[in-house]
């Protein structure tokens, strides 16, 4: 069930959502079995920021009915650490690599995009304009003008595909149209929905970061609508995600207009979920999987 995303050939239409799978850590747990049975047709990295971040204080997680609130805070090694330590290892994965980046200014985004795009290991970049865990992450993706302005700043820096990851916390269609007009090659959505939880002991907000983002089957119906509306409004490719746990869920997003589907929280429940979902999808369409 081979497919194509912005000219990148994919063996099947199932990738991972950024920040929901760490291929380097997973190799520590599963060894080479991970590479032999890699669950995704492309790998999307965790979001990289210009400087290292240690992330939010714990607790960082809260289970909800059919979902999960996370308040992780984008821990990462920063651009230089990523390029030196992680990128060479991610480049050895058996699938194309998409690197997710987030800055708090155009200058930061320019530095990230040019630093990442020039590396041959990288097939495409995803601009994180929607992470609800970090105050600055919400601003660009909630405004069509800000989104267009960001694309104007980074589009000239690379010919590699730029994917814009939208937030569901603002109406996504005008932002998607702005991204397309600024030269984005694809739109991905949805990121997590802003959410919070209270300490069962009555000590106020449970999460160390105060609030977080909700994912999992709890958000699936919202994702399906937003993907459907965005896919109808733009002519560039759409990467659909939000609560996908089965081939049927993935098929719904493809039916709604997504070219590719991403799996996130379900991988926490089963590390090989992406592989299973690709295979269920393939069986559903009566085609043999090449993954």
């Amino acid at each position: 069930m081979a497919t194509d995303l912005c000219g990148i050939e994919l063996a099947h239409p199932v990738v991972n959502g950024s920040g929901t799978f760490d291929a380097i850590a997973a190799q520590r747990a599963f060894g080479d079995a991970l590479l032999e049975r890699f669950p995704f047709s492309a790998f999307v990295s965790k979001t990289i920021t210009p400087e290292p971040r240690s992330g939010n204080p714990p607790p960082r997680l809260w289970e909800t009915p059919s979902g999960l609130i996370n308040s992780i805070g984008l821990p990462n090694k920063g651009l230089d650490g990523f390029l030196a330590e992680d990128l060479p290892r991610l480049g050895e994965l058996p699938v194309p690599l998409v690197v997710s980046v987030m800055g708090t200014s155009h200058d930061q985004f320019r530095r990230l995009v040019s630093g990442v795009a020039e590396r041959e290991e990288v097939a495409a970049l995803e601009l994180n304009v929607s992470c609800p865990n970090v105050e600055s992450g919400t601003i660009v993706g909630e405004s069509p003008d800000e989104t267009r302005s960001l694309l104007d700043a980074v589009r000239p820096l690379t010919d590699k595909p730029l994917i814009v990851k939208l937030t569901p916390n603002a109406p996504p269609v005008p932002v998607a149209i702005a991204a397309e007009s600024g030269g984005a090659d694809a739109i991905s959505l949805i990121n997590t929905l802003r959410a919070t939880a209270m300490d069962p002991g009555g000590a106020g907000p449970w999460l160390g970061g105060g609030s977080g983002g909700l994912s999992g089957p709890a958000v699936r119906a919202i994702a399906l609508l937003q993907v459907s509306e965005v896919a109808a409004a733009v002519s560039i490719a759409v990467v659909g995600m939000g609560g996908v746990a089965s081939g049927g869920d993935a098929a719904d997003l493809l039916e709604a207009g997504a070219a590719v589907v991403a799996v996130g929280t379900e991988s926490f429940r089963d590390p090989a979920a992406g592989r299973r979902i690709a295979s269920e999808l393939s069986a559903r369409f009566g085609l043999s999987s090449s993954g």
Binding site: G19, T20, F21, D22, I24, A25, A26, R28, A29, F30, G31, D32, A33, L34, E36, R37, K46, S54, G55, N56, P57, P58, P59, R60, L61, W62, E63, T64, P65, S66, G67, L68, N70, I72, P75, W206, G208, G216, P217, A218, T265, S267, F268, R269, D270, P271, A272, R275, R276
Partner: protein, 296 residues
């Protein structure tokens, strides 16, 4: 290979000796579920995985009745393995469970013949004393409440390796001393907060006395229990200059480094991910064992 005496050679391992998990979750048949005080001990037969190292853990979810009524439990739950026994090319795994929420409640209700989703074994295991400290020859195990589970397997592995081992266990009351059934050894001192058996008070008071003895030199302390107990052990060992390894707990969605939820603060600043850098952690590496959300 690591050449740990008495510890069976296994399949693929990471360079720190941890057995690697098969990729993906698999169904294991539940073969037993018995009461042990106020806790349950249940067994499942893993058709595929390696024999785990002591201190490693599994992510567990019942195949049916998970996400049943109000959509919880949704995620798998992390449990240290309390005992394991290779049976041909399969491995029997024992887990000690206290029903405190929807996930642990469902695990407590598992019936013989039901199927359990499992991924693991995961994480960094306990290291034998001479790996923790060159020249160290003895082990002191300190367990509290439900946290005694991984120490039961570790005690058995240390005994097989011929490592002199002393065991100190603490319980709040009789109801919560159930896991004691996992220890079938004579070298055991018990403390209980209600005084129903052994020393009336905390297990860390027994440790404090033991660490005053000359024979504490050359020993490594291995501890698992509630955060306050672990913090007391960490501080006592630091004061006495004795190395310690703590098996810790933190809220965890995935168990293999994907979710970044199980952050534990490091002495050098920043955080480790407990699932891949732990759950067994050197006391000296920690800023504190009192992790917010731990033990929840």
């Amino acid at each position: 290979m690591s050449g740990k005496p008495g510890i069976a050679e296994q399949g693929p391992t990471l360079d720190d000796g941890r057995p690697l998990a098969p990729f993906g979750r698999r169904a294991c048949r539940v073969t037993r579920n018995i009461a042990s005080g106020g806790y349950r001990i249940f067994s499942a037969v893993d058709p595929e995985g390696p024999d785990p190292a002591a201190g490693q853990f599994y992510m567990l979810a019942a195949e049916s009745g998970w996400a049943a009524e109000d959509g919880r439990p949704y995620l798998a739950r992390a449990f240290s393995v309390a005992d394991s026994d290779p049976e041909g090319d399969r491995v029997r795994l024992d887990f000690l469970v206290q029903g405190v929420g929807p996930g642990t409640g469902r695990l407590c209700s598992l019936q013989e013949g039901e199927r359990l989703w499992v991924h693991g074994p995961l994480g960094r295991p306990f290291g034998v004393p001479r790996e923790a400290v060159p020249g160290a020859h003895g082990a002191i195990l300190v367990g509290g409440g439900i946290g005694i589970a991984p120490l039961a397997l570790w005690r058995r592995r240390l005994a097989a390796a011929g490592v002199p081992t002393r065991v100190l266990l603490g319980f709040r009351d009789r109801e919560r001393s159930g896991g004691l059934d996992l220890f079938r050894c004579s070298e055991l001192k018990v403390a209980s907060e209600d005084g129903h058996q052994g020393h009336r008070g905390y297990v860390t008071e027994l440790l404090e006395v033991m660490l005053r003895g000359d024979d504490a030199d050359g020993a490594v302390v291995y501890a698992c229990g509630p955060p306050a107990m672990l913090e007391a052990v960490r501080l006592l060992c630091a004061e006495r200059g004795v190395a310690c390894e703590l098996a810790m707990e933190a809220p965890m969605a995935c168990g293999f480094g994907a979710c970044f939820g199980c952050a534990v603060p490091l002495a050098e600043g920043g955080y480790m991910r407990l699932c891949v850098d732990g759950p067994v952690v050197r006391g000296a590496d920690l800023a504190t064992a009192l992790v917010p959300g731990g033990g929840h």
